[in-house]
């Protein structure tokens, strides 16, 4: 199949959240010997970006975002082993450690951000909910992450976002990581106040922000 036909089909598979089609098209691309990084960037990434636009316009909601992120994962699951075989990294975004801060068991928003970041080309290490602050740092250090994303749904736990930044400072590690905060009570103002590197209002905005902080947008 020629590329000009393939790109729109890949695009559609992601927008429609069609996992089977997304994976099958990735298989076609591998068999045709296409440049797989180009396949990701021109075939699939525009699809996930379109999904983001539809969300912002109020056309898409959480179920559609999840389906599209799953379709993206299915395509990447086909492409990544091929890229790895050629020693090419498919995760251009770098590594991200994410979790809901200690004392807070809410994880819907965090899970969505994790999925969308993964779909957006980041390698995501999801520590879950109610994560001890030290764990974020240990994990980030262990895997060589560039970004730490902190979620909090409660006004009483969002202060742990501030504490994590303090903890990084104490350890002399503050400049090593970009720290992103999110969750219902968080805001841009809050992010500025606690010295975070950024705040995103939703999963789509989080991917944009992460890409721009990673120098990819």
């Amino acid at each position: 199949m020629i590329k000009n036909e393939l790109w729109p089909k890949m695009n559609e598979a992601i927008v429609a959240g069609d996992r089977a089609a997304a994976a099958a098209l990735a298989g076609d691309a591998v068999r045709s010997g296409l440049d797989l990084l180009e396949v990701i960037e021109r075939g699939y990434v525009p699809g996930i970006e379109k999904v983001g636009e539809l969300w912002e316009q109020g056309e898409y909601f959480l179920p559609e975002l999840i389906s599209s992120a799953e379709a993206m994962k299915a395509a990447m699951a086909v492409l990544e082993p091929e890229l790895n075989r050629k020693n090419i990294g498919a995760r251009m975004g770098g590594k991200v450690v994410i979790g809901t801060v200690e004392g807070d068991i809410h994880d819907i928003g965090k899970n969505l951000v994790a999925s969308m970041l993964q779909a957006g080309g980041f390698e995501v290490f999801d520590l879950g909910a109610d994560v001890k602050l030290e764990r974020f740092i240990e994990k980030a250090e262990a895997v060589g992450a560039g970004m730490i994303c902190l979620s909090a749904l409660l006004t009483t736990t969002m202060t742990n976002q501030r504490r994590l930044i303090g903890l990084l400072r104490d350890k002399g590690l503050r400049d090593k990581y970009k720290v992103l905060v999110g969750g219902a009570p968080a805001s841009r103002k809050w992010a500025e106040e606690i010295g975070a590197d950024g705040y995103a209002e939703n999963a789509v905005a989080a991917v944009k922000l992460a890409k721009s902080l990673a120098g990819r947008a």
Binding site: G58, E59, L62, D104, I105, I108, A129, T155, P185, S187
Partner: protein, 296 residues
Amino acid sequence: MTPPLLDLVKTRTVLLDGAMGTELMARGLAQGVAPELWNVERPEVVKGVYAAYFAAGADVVSTNSFGGSPLKLAAHGLEGRAYELNLAAARLAREAAPAGRYVAGSMGPTGKFLKPQGPYAVEDFAAVYAEQTRALAAGGVDVLLIETQYDLREALAALHGARSASPLPVFVTMTFNANPRGYFTLMGDSAARSAAELEKEGVGAVGANCTLTSEQMVGCVRALKEATSLPLIAQANAGQPTIGADGRVGYSQTLEDYVRFVPEIVRSGAGFVGGCCGTNPSFIRAMARAIQEERS
């Protein structure tokens, strides 16, 4: 004799309560502790909050059982105590309620997803809501209040679960975001569709809570009103949370700004009004005055 709540709302605006969790935290509930635990460990404190809302003029107080779903309590290792904690929540509210006032049995969302987004089947959700309902009903609530629902499918499962366990009237509030196309839940259920579906399933009252400011709530109530003839519930947040330099949590809407929109919420068709995050007994007292003035 006290008239049933659904009869009372035909005659006048009924005042609900405001936030519970933040009131308990102001009284020392530590971060990460399930608020429902205090129904057993610090019953006098929980009862004190109920009493403060009744004293402020609330006709109805909702029980301290928002997170009392066995599925939610499991995150605290308390799932085995769901019945006990919900029963205590209801009993304390009943004890705190003066004659002629009401108790609503609060049931918040499970925090989990149904298939295909999550691992749960509709029957699983119905079963946990049924379990919570049994305890709240045994504790003497007047109505069941399924609150802050972000998925219409969960709300319907909750309704069916509650029905299977008790003949009490069921009220449902969903939480809607204001988006460019109107008011929608996280899962994409519009206010109109939610109200229509819930009415078809026979809920006693339907409405919106949380997320929206009192100003945004006016538009949401109008959208609900167009879709249903049921009594409407409105419990707005006091805007967005903010954290001051001293580390104290505040909300972007002041009491005055919040209450300013209450008459319009009532005029738009809400029969039951109260507060949500960021509100406290002072807000309810001011709302009682606003409603009184509206009436006279």
